[in-house]
Symmetry: C2
Subunit: 406 residues, 2 copies
């Protein structure tokens, strides 16, 4: 028996879907497949902003790996990847080492703070289940503190979200929906709470249809969100943030600063010596790294150029899931001694941004705009379809957003 | 019309029961009665440890004043008392001033730290709804932080309760019951969490029957509580506490230090020039202060000597409620021009300490010991009887612990 070792590091959208695809397509006699992940669960990164706002419990967002991966077909190792050595074909873990014949890197994203002073120390970012849960508890804790202060401490109940991109807008929408509940739980008058969204660019949701952006901003402003567009965060400290607009600086005091403006690929990839472009590997058409024929990269650690716009595709769950299909197919070819690999073709079926549980905006089938309830239903349909693909009807029933017409 | 002004400051057990008694016994034609309280709610101080542990929501513990006080009969002023001037018969509020002919002081307790360095700055104490809610959120926040630290931070999931008196034991019991839930919510292994109770005296629940104390300690130790008896807290700082036993010092690192070892009367009473003994007014038999015939003191601001033991009665809800009966009766006498006042006779029917929702220890009718479920049922019966007395069947149904046999 000389089965090749396939190692998949990371059980995000790209990693776990590669594993699930392989367990359907490759028999244990053909390859020895190992999935490595820090936690014993996968989670839906696109739902984390709801966990962070406290509008959805994080147990809805995470899925036990054993519920979707068949451990008779795939080995699971719960450990943290420290580095990869593509020359000796080994993955160094915190508690061991694995050697591979083929490697799939799906280590996900990291928050990028673009060198803005103090952001890393004093701002929170939505990165995983642990950090989302901490943001929820951090905001709650500050609200709890408010009524115990002798002097009025507006900074405790001022929430600042940095960035009006996809994550920033989705998060600020959830927080806006959560505020009435926070006010009731902590006896804080609603009119005292401030919720700001600070964006360096001239518009929210850059690249989205302007009509949809206007709809989103109007809806959020109605719920009390104060937008500060064209406003750069210059500094973050224990007291809050310093922003600059038109060369004028202003201090916004806030104990609740959440940075949702930038992501980059996991730094382990660059530190392991792989070629990167802004932290992400410019993969070949077949999703292998430029230098190694035995290493695939899926999800947020990879970058794919859009030939039409000549700009990279934004890293999304949708693309990561599609990459997993191509990667699984190409791995099956390779272990069967077939060098004819498939080229990855992203199939962008639409983009929907949630504005809370019952509202959203989106573009589908290239040019159809959706607002409000219909966009919200579409968003839930996309999420539900993923659950169905990942774990079948059982998982859909367990974790799906099934009250679609709510 | 020359109706006397009766002002009641504080709507704790003593204050609100005085008001409720007066609204039954005194007509609006006889006196103009005003109740002053910081919040628009009364709360059951004896349930706060459950709110602080997170085993009972604070909305169960508080009762809207309007639900038990008839605003057609009693004026309600939501304001904070700053000082009392018994010479000019005025009460200075944050937003005004009230003059009285008769005053009832029911301003409650304050936490006493006995000058232990750092306790006031770094330890939490269970004083009111706001501080109980903050303790709950503080512990949750530290648990949330635990999985985000690169180094293992045992101090985040170590909880130290200072004091093994009534409140300390009741609180540590609730926390012990809450820990499994915290571990699940925050993905913390149960065996990592530490829960300590530090007591300077040689025994827990000093004064309680030794057999009952042993029962309580065994039950709590089974649930993982580590007792440190005969151990003084010497200092509290950002890192935790320094304790001393047999002249040896030890540092216990903990971000969750809750001080539950001492209370004293509200400092406003002493600052207003009333005679006090350890912060509490040594009231006359008729519950008036030694120096003023028009000022009554009820609840934790008053001290009553037990002639048998020659020690003060411990300040309890039970005594505060009984004081309210005597005070209301005596006020009715005074406004009717009758100088024959009733002497206060405490009627201690028993003492029950809760050890969580379904367990307790207690002594009733002087010498009957109760354990476990029967003591727990007795505890709930006492609480339910109070609700019935305060607000009738409606309030009992709304806020009572009715699943007595749970």
């Amino acid at each position: 028996m000389n089965r090749p070792n396939i190692v998949i590091v990371g059980a995000g959208y790209g990693g776990i879907m590669t594993a699930v695809n392989l367990q359907k397509q490759v028999s244990p006699e053909e390859a020895n497949i190992t999935l490595v992940n820090k936690n014993d669960y996968h989670y839906q990164t696109t739902w984390l902003h709801e966990n962070a706002a406290g509008t959805l419990h994080h147990d809805r967002t995470r899925i036990a790996i054993k519920d979707v991966v068949d451990f008779n077909k795939i080995n699971f190792v719960q450990d943290t990847v420290e580095s990869i050595d593509p020359k000796s074909k080994t993955v160094k873990l915190e508690d061991g080492e694995l050697s591979y014949d083929y490697l799939v890197i799906g280590l996900g994203f990291e928050s990028a703070t673009f060198g803005i002073e103090g952001l890393e120390e004093y701002a929170y970012s939505i990165q995983n289940i642990n950090s989302a849960r901490l943001i929820r508890d951090h905001i709650e804790y500050n609200f709890a503190q408010y009524n115990l202060e002798k002097e009025e401490r507006q900074d405790l109940i001022t929430i600042v979200v940095g960035g009006a991109g996809f994550t920033g807008i989705e998060f600020v929408a959830e927080v806006a929906n959560r505020i009435p509940e926070l006010c009731q739980e902590y006896d804080v008058p609603r009119e005292k709470v401030r919720l700001l969204n600070v964006e360096g660019g001239p518009t929210a949701l850059a690249g989205f249809d302007p009509e949809l952006v206007e709809y989103a901003m109007n809806r959020l402003e109605e719920k009390g969100v104060e937008f500060r567009l064209g406003t750069m965060i210059k500094k973050c400290n224990e007291e809050g943030i310093i922003v600059e607009k038109d060369e004028e600086q202003e201090e916004i005091k806030s104990k609740n600063v959440i940075w949702a403006a930038g992501v980059t690929g996991n730094s382990i990839v660059q530190e392991s010596g792989f070629e990167v472009n802004r932290g992400r590997v410019p993969v070949r058409d077949d999703l292998r790294t430029p230098d190694y024929d035995d290493v695939f990269v899926v999800g947020d650690c990879a970058v794919i150029m859009n030939p039409d716009s000549e700009r990279p595709y934004p890293p999304t769950a949708q693309i990561a899931i599609q990459m997993a299909d191509t990667t699984a197919h190409n791995l099956k070819q390779l272990i069967n001694g077939n060098d004819k690999l498939e080229s990855f073709q992203p199939n962008i079926q639409g983009t929907v941004a949630s504005l809370g549980y019952t509202d959203a905006i989106g573009v589908v089938f290239d040019d159809t705009k959706l607002y409000g309830r219909s966009a919200s239903i579409m968003k839930k349909a996309i999420d539900n379809r993923y659950l169905l693909k990942l774990g079948g009807v059982g998982l859909l029933l367990k974790k799906g957003k099934l009250d679609m017409y709510h």
